[in-house]
Symmetry: C2
Subunit: 323 residues, 2 copies
């Protein structure tokens, strides 16, 4: 199995989208933009030993490597269209590649994402995906659009992926059923693609929660030049995490909820006038969209109020790869 056979068997496929003029198999892919549309581009690199442990199920890894990119596109309100995949592999393990591509392809099919290019080389395992999405010109959801008075929302629940990591690392424990549910949140995150697209013209700003709520909402606060106040009691979380908030493990639970990475939920802001549309959207998507606080004036920073309404003195920090 050489590099070219690997590409031929596992990566190459016939062009499918009408905008794709040239797919895998030339020096580059050629795409023909549709009039009135803009492209959104994002890249994410997953490193063995950093983002996943050696021996991680390659099917789940294929899913996750694409999911984290689709989550970024969702946070911009873009519909995913194309992806390029660069991989470094320690050896030409064809079974591993086939399983990885099964995971990636299943998610790609779900969102009609077409693999249009890539690179394959030998090296410490590293998966780097560039994803390209599309949206009507001018409709991108930016971090910089939040306004004082807007409500702050998050989709789904927060902190489960971080709690799953803590359980896997022996720093906490949950019952077997919760363990399975948490594990799915960590290994197989669902990018909020439909939500992101539906939030065009509704949300004033959006970001995906990949590094933890405090850090990611902090980016919105900085980019929008606003303040933000969040109510701890309002934060949506799983029953397993909720139970720990009222236990001796409260500190761990707070860290998961406020600074746990890998949630891939969307955090967005919207004016009150959008309350009903957002409620209707939650019903239509069967996805909780929970108001968690309010955007305030510039200079106020980000505060999190505890159950008694007092600001937490110290906020858990966002994940920093060089911290």
């Amino acid at each position: 199995m050489n590099e070219f056979e690997l590409i031929e068997r596992h990566f190459r496929r016939a062009p499918h989208h009408p905008e794709l003029r040239v797919g895998i198999g030339d020096d580059g892919a050629v795409i023909a933009p549709s009039p009135g549309m803009e492209y959104v581009l994002t890249v994410d690199m997953l490193v063995e030993g950093r983002h996943f442990v050696a021996g991680t199920d390659p099917v789940r890894l294929g899913h996750k490597a694409l999911a984290v990119n689709l989550s970024d596109l969702a946070a911009m309100g873009a519909l995913p269209r194309f992806a390029l995949l660069a991989v470094a592999l320690p050896d030409a393990d064809e079974a591993w590649v086939a399983a990885f591509m099964r995971g990636l392809d299943a998610l790609a099919r779900q969102y009609d994402v077409e693999l249009i290019g890539g690179d394959t080389t030998r090296g410490p395992r590293n998966l780097c995906i560039t994803a390209i999405g599309e949206l009507p010109a001018g409709s991108a959801l930016l971090r910089s659009g939040a306004n004082p008075g807007d409500r702050i929302y998050v989709s789904g629940t927060l902190g489960d992926a971080a709690l799953a990591l803590a359980v896997a690392g022996g720093r906490s424990d949950v019952d077997a059923r919760s363990r399975a549910a948490l594990g799915r949140r960590l290994d197989a995150p669902e990018p909020r693609v439909a939500l992101g697209v539906a939030l065009r013209g509704v949300a004033s700003s959006a970001i995906d929660v990949s590094d933890g709520l405090v850090g990611d909402l902090g980016h919105v606060v900085t980019a929008s030049r606003v303040g933000a106040a969040v109510d701890l009691a309002a934060l949506p979380c799983s029953p397993a995490l909720r139970a720990k908030l009222g236990s001796a493990e409260r500190e761990l639970a707070l860290a998961c909820l406020l600074a746990g990475g890998d949630d891939y939920e969307l955090c967005f802001t919207a004016p009150h006038a959008m309350d009903e549309r957002i409620e209707a959207l939650a019903l239509a998507l069967r996805l909780p969209l929970t108001p968690i606080g309010a955007v305030g004036a510039h200079g106020g920073g980000l505060t999190v109020r505890d159950e008694s309404g007092r600001a937490l003195a110290r906020l858990p920090q966002a994940f920093d790869h060089f911290g």
Copy 2:
């Protein structure tokens, strides 16, 4: 120096191209295509220990990481516009990052390429660049366009980068001046951007020579369903390599010339009617464009004729990362 400071200080810059609506600093970059234009996308991953040795000058590495991508765009006839950079670094060595970005930025400025996104993480050193170029709809130079009777050309000289590697590895030797010249070919390849753009409407097919002439021209032969015959005596090479062809090191010289990677010259085909335009182009660009053979009928495969006109019985193979 944390991850966000690293991004803020070394990667972030203000949007510059009018088509760039949102640059670094959001979940994705937003680009607004120009009417009538298509985008070309390509990705290349450079791994420490595989594509470069530990301790390689980061300035040269920054140049090369972008150059290999611009070379792919050139081979499609695209004008480079944007790039996304994902890096894994073993530590937050700010001096290394600053030097790497100096090398990358210098080349980016030369070709007006704008860095629009990226990802930074800790891990074994790995540099993954996605480059985006632009061209008028339908004008991409493909591997599949060669026709029987076309001439085959290469730009510049072939084999110097591979000879530099052989010299560095102690498998060959050259005088000090040649060593410096060869080293530049390996460390600081010049992507043939102006040539690629000028070949739109002139060349029938094109590819960049990154894995070696035999392998890369072989891709054109396969994609175009043609044959090809190349004359060894016609292949342009440096005096240092030419000298070795007539010496005891002939086998090494043949391997460099026919299968040496990292040349980043363009190999293209064109009908005879383009002879004069191509001669004029070589003068205008001050870049040798050398006819090296002819495209033949499908089924003939790729043959290389030696100085006496006899086909070489065994062709050196292209570089294969899993070979």
